[in-house]
């Protein structure tokens, strides 16, 4: 069955360099630098990436950073907590927009 998301496509990510090799190379250099150990550890960065993957709901990223987090030594407990952080921010983001709703209600109401 055709689908927009196809798991083997993750391995073809490098194809994005085919018609724009310089941009791809710049992206890779930046990407690799971002995930290198710095003020944050590689594991912390992998867990942030896992949480963001859920926030942006990217199936490729979820696959990649589930493996990536495990291979940086994260535990399933830590990974589950990271996803809850993403979920809480998404839920909170909806909820905090309720203030806009209440402001509008106040403006429109007598």
């Amino acid at each position: 069955m055709d689908t927009y998301y196809h798991p083997p496509d993750l391995a073809k990510f490098g194809d994005m360099g085919k018609d724009a090799p310089e941009l791809w190379e710049k992206f890779l250099q930046w990407y690799n630098a971002v995930f290198a150990e710095g003020a944050l550890t590689e594991r912390e960065k992998a867990l942030i990436a896992l949480a963001v993957s859920h926030a942006v709901q990217c199936p490729y990223c979820i696959d990649a950073y589930t493996s990536g987090s495990l291979e940086k030594g994260a535990t399933p407990e830590q990974m589950t907590e990271a996803v809850h952080v993403a979920a809480a921010i998404r839920g909170g983001a909806s909820l905090v927009h309720g203030v806009q709703m209440r402001n509008k209600v106040d403006k429109l109401s007598m």
Binding site: A11, S67, L70, E71, K72, G73, T75, P76, E77
Partner: protein, 347 residues
């Protein structure tokens, strides 16, 4: 109740030839020999034998899901007396500094203690690859004290400092028994600074992924085992799971085999070839046959035909030093990422 060894369940993968065929059928991007050649090792050769690793047999009180030996309580293969004697003779005749004893649970072998005593009397470093739970069996409670008395280095398996992960790989209740065993070793001085008694732990990933950084995990493990259980140890070794026996079966059944093998190949680290353990290890099977490593032993890939084939053909190791090491697709497991060996990461 049926035991989950491949042999007991009559799995086709109980046969090493079937395992080799399953691995060779995979469409890997390149063969291992080609990868090694690209790293400057067109012919993979030994650097000299410094470790004699002997597998006393497949008997084990556990039956872990990832076991590359397919060991378990139902296995009957054990090293015969003549092979044990030949191993001791080889140690006496050569300067091989280390005897590494593995299995199965090697301590179940009736000649285990005799072997330890004689190797130590020859002045050799002796390693016992211990599954920890063996020490909780009634007849083996004195094992840690025996190992301490003879200053045997203990390398103990513990995949995780969390009970859930450990029990998932090694069986229900294994973690709790392992903690009990580690406390017994600590009480004797094992793992304590200045005691001279070495206790190293081994962790394999609980699934189809590569191990994390050994140094990072060691820091985590020392902190967490101390904080949670007051347990100390010397070093943590990370070992990549090998696509052999029960781990191979799990990879197939879980639909992970292709992706895992591709991951191993894509993670090929040229720098890991130099320190491959097959270059300095001689592996002896329970039946006395010779192999380049314990993984080749389980796949029934003996040393190349021109080399001596059994321990009985071996007066010294000189004729082995010129052999070409036998490789196959599983060898990518030892060169992926930071490299992997029975002594942990290799780069």
């Amino acid at each position: 109740m049926a035991l989950p060894t491949l042999l007991n369940t009559r799995s086709p993968l109980a046969a090493p030839a079937a395992q080799r065929a399953a691995l060779e059928a995979l469409p890997l991007p390149r063969p291992f020999a080609g990868a090694a050649a690209s790293a400057g090792h067109a012919r993979l050769v030994p650097t000299g034998t410094t470790i004699l690793q002997i597998n006393l047999g497949k008997r084990c009180n556990q039956a872990c899901h990832h076991c590359h030996v397919d060991a378990g309580p139902d296995r009957t293969e054990v090293m015969g007396d003549a092979v044990v004697e030949a191993c001791v003779d080889l140690l006496a005749a050569t300067g091989i500094p280390t005897l590494d004893i593995t299995g199965g649970a090697p301590e179940l072998h009736p000649r285990f203690r005799d072997l330890v005593v004689r190797a130590r009397a020859l002045g050799r470093r002796v390693i016992d690859r211990c599954n920890l739970t063996i020490t909780t069996l009634p007849n083996y409670a004195g094992l840690p004290a025996f190992l301490a008395e003879h200053q045997v280095e203990v390398i103990a398996s513990l995949p995780s400092y969390a009970a859930t992960q450990t029990d998932r790989q090694r069986g229900d209740g294994v973690f709790e028994q392992s903690v009990q065993a580690l406390r017994a070793f600590n009480a004797l001085g094992y793992g304590r600074e200045g005691s001279g008694l070495v206790l190293n732990l081994v962790t394999n990933p609980v699934g189809a992924f590569l191990p994390a950084s050994q140094a990072t995990l060691e820091r985590d493990w020392k902190r967490e085992l101390k904080r949670r259980y007051e347990i100390e140890f010397n070093a943590l070794y990370t070992i990549t799971n090998m696509p052999i026996s029960r781990y191979l079966e799990w990879l197939e059944q879980s639909g992970n085999l292709d992706a895992y093998m591709t991951k191993l190949v894509q993670a090929f680290n040229p720098a890991a070839v130099e320190g491959l353990m097959c270059r300095y290890t001689l592996s002896v099977g329970w039946d006395g046959r010779l192999f380049d490593c314990d993984f080749n032993q389980m796949l029934d890939l003996p040393v190349e035909p021109s080399a001596p084939q059994t321990i009985f053909d071996l007066a010294d190791t000189a004729r082995l030093d010129t052999r070409t090491i036998v490789t196959a697709p599983h060898c990518f497991g030892c060169t992926a990422g930071a490299g992997s060996s029975c002594g942990g990461a290799t780069t």
